[in-house]
């Protein structure tokens, strides 16, 4: 394993420290217990947005702290949900009196830790709502699983709920926007090569030179199917079809399309996938209204990509276009 790190156990702390130095205009780093808040938190009268999860998915979540997005991010250890003693003070720190929304990716660990933190925050008199993001269509049979995972759709939830909070929506309204995004977003990913978690030191799984994993998550977990390598167009079909089917996308629908890199994929390849995805959507009469192409939710240096599609409406488009100023997403500001 070769990585630009010092002590594997210090990776998250040192990285967040560097992040704090680079973006001192945007965030305050609280080192112990570790969490980050928006520089001007708490914003009085505004609903506070808290998200978090295991580290290794950068820029998620710290990169999305700032105006029009998150008020706090809570980084866990590598690929490990943060603990309630981090989530609770983050929640307290961003409560501007209008309550706090927890945006939680649907993994057992995240759910349990945020649940506990929410209970403790309620005991301190803070109203907390929770939205679970579960957009991964790779998890087919959610009756017999922990349910669908939260993956790329998380980026959209954080942005759109953040925009709603910024325009002054109350906690119910912000929660409703977040839930509307969850209900209308689906994602699917592929890995060409696994990542290596620093504390493990060996790749999360082994793929032969002619194999790829379809339906991977963002934690270096093996995917649902292992298939022979295909070209970009073929892979894009495999990623997009279950999404459009599950969303029941129809001609005339407008969508936000994200082609997301898993961390070790050249941007040029992401745009090749994007090109095909747009072509496929257009062939169905679906209109790509807005897009993101790049590394937005990663799995360390994993090679691969994920596709996320969100069905848009006028309000969501307006929220999307409103100003956002974070380390990793910025416009209009």
């Amino acid at each position: 394993m070769k990585k630009l790190i010092n002590n594997p156990r210090a990776v998250v702390a040192e990285s967040v420290e560097g992040f704090g130095r680079a973006h001192a205009d945007l965030v305050t780093v609280h080192p112990d217990p570790l969490f980050l808040t928006r520089k001007d938190a708490p914003v009085s009268g505004k609903v506070g947005l808290v998200s978090g999860g295991g580290s290794g998915h950068e820029p998620l979540h710290a990169g999305y702290v700032g105006r029009g997005m998150l008020d706090a991010a809570v980084p866990g250890a590598m690929f490990t949900s943060p603990t309630p003693d981090q989530i609770l003070p983050a929640t307290v720190a961003v409560d501007g009196g209008a309550g706090v929304l927890h945006i939680v990716k649907n993994y057992t660990g995240d759910v349990l830790n945020f649940e506990t933190a929410a209970e403790l925050a309620e005991e301190e008199g803070i109203t907390v709502r929770t939205v679970l993001v579960n957009d991964d269509v790779a998890v087919e049979d959610s009756l017999y699983t922990a349910g669908r995972r939260g993956v790329g759709g998380t980026v959209f939830v954080e942005r759109l709920a953040g925009a709603a909070a910024e325009r002054g929506d109350d906690l119910d309204a912000v929660t409703a926007i977040a839930q509307r995004v969850v209900d209308n977003v689906r994602s699917m990913g592929v890995a060409l090569a696994a990542c290596t978690v620093p504390h493990a030191g060996v790749p999360s799984f082994d793929l032969a030179e002619d194999e790829i994993e379809i339906g991977i998550g963002i934690h270096g977990e093996p995917g649902r199917h292992r298939i022979a390598m295909e070209d970009a167009d073929g892979i894009t079909v495999r990623l997009l079809e279950p999404i459009t089917a599950d969303l029941a996308l129809a001609a005339g629908d407008r969508v936000l399309l994200m082609v997301n890199g898993m961390g070790g994929t050249p941007a040029s390849e992401l745009y090749i996938v994007f090109r095909k995805a747009v072509e496929l959507l257009e062939a169905q009469g679906v209109q790509m209204e807005r897009s993101l192409v790049g590394n937005y939710i990663t799995a360390l240096e994993m090679q691969g990509a994920s596709v996320s599609v969100l069905r848009l409406d006028d309000e969501l488009i307006e929220l999307w276009d409103s100003p956002v100023h974070t380390a990793a997403m910025r416009w209009g500001a």
Binding site: R9, P33, G54, G76, A77, M78, F79, T80, S81, P82, T83, P84, D85, Y107, T108, G109, L112, N113, E115, T116, A138, V139, E140, D141, Y144, T145, A146, R149, V197, H199, A200, V202, S204, F205, G217, H219, G220, E221, P222, R224
Partner: protein, 214 residues
């Protein structure tokens, strides 16, 4: 050893040792069907428990020891295992109340409470390929042993043995809870890391009591 506060401390120190020794094994089990962090998470958590014990002061009752450990695990393990083990130790502590020494029936009750806590948090059933597959046979065997008049040490040994068998028995199962469930059928033929660590931790309880080493 009688099951006093000293026993509880020895249990946790023993658990920390066995987890540290098996850190890589638990990571490898989790890499196969999860995200390769279970050994790291528990090692981090139990090291923190030991650090707290080292810092003192010496607690007076087993419950006090276990409650302290619960809070530390909750705030340092993270992931699924953190809240689950945290709850297990919290409920175990609650079940013991103010007792200065734990008898066979209390030991069984403690393990039942821990198991119930894990079920309450994780909603898993036996056969879902989770740590419940170790906790449940452990609690049941403990109760059977206690009812049959076994000593507290024997109750813990029975629990540890049953947990170990339960962990082994997760191997063929298809996971239906936790991260391994995403793999569907591909989760079969691997032992569940949480069930394996549960067996290790319960073994440490028995060993600390002077029970038979497995």
């Amino acid at each position: 050893m009688a099951l006093t506060a000293q026993w509880a401390v020895a249990w946790l120190r023993g658990a920390a040792e066995v987890v540290a020794e098996n850190r890589v094994l638990l990571i490898d089990l989790d890499r196969a069907i999860g995200d390769a962090d279970h050994g790291e998470n528990l090692d981090r958590g139990f090291s923190a428990v030991v650090a707290k014990l080292d810092a003192g002061p010496d607690p007076a009752t087993p419950a006090e020891v276990l409650k302290g450990a619960a809070m530390t695990l909750m705030s340092s393990v993270g992931g699924a295992a953190g809240p689950l083990y945290g709850t297990a130790f919290l409920r175990a502590a609650k079940a013991l109340g103010d007792a200065v020494e734990v008898g066979p029936d209390e030991a069984a009750a403690m393990l039942e409470a821990a198991r119930d806590g894990v079920v309450a948090r994780g909603k898993a059933e036996v056969g879902d390929k989770t740590m419940i597959d170790a906790w449940t046979p452990a609690a049941e065997s403990a109760r059977t042993a206690a009812s049959a008049g076994a000593s507290a040490e024997e109750v813990l040994s029975a629990a540890a043995n049953a947990a170990q068998a339960g962990a082994v028995a997760t191997e063929p199962l298809i996971a239906r809870k936790g991260r391994a469930s995403y793999l569907g059928e591909r989760s079969a033929n691997h032992r569940d890391p949480g069930a394996v660590s549960t067996a290790m931790i319960l073994q440490a309880a028995a060993v600390a009591a002077g029970g038979v080493n497995l």
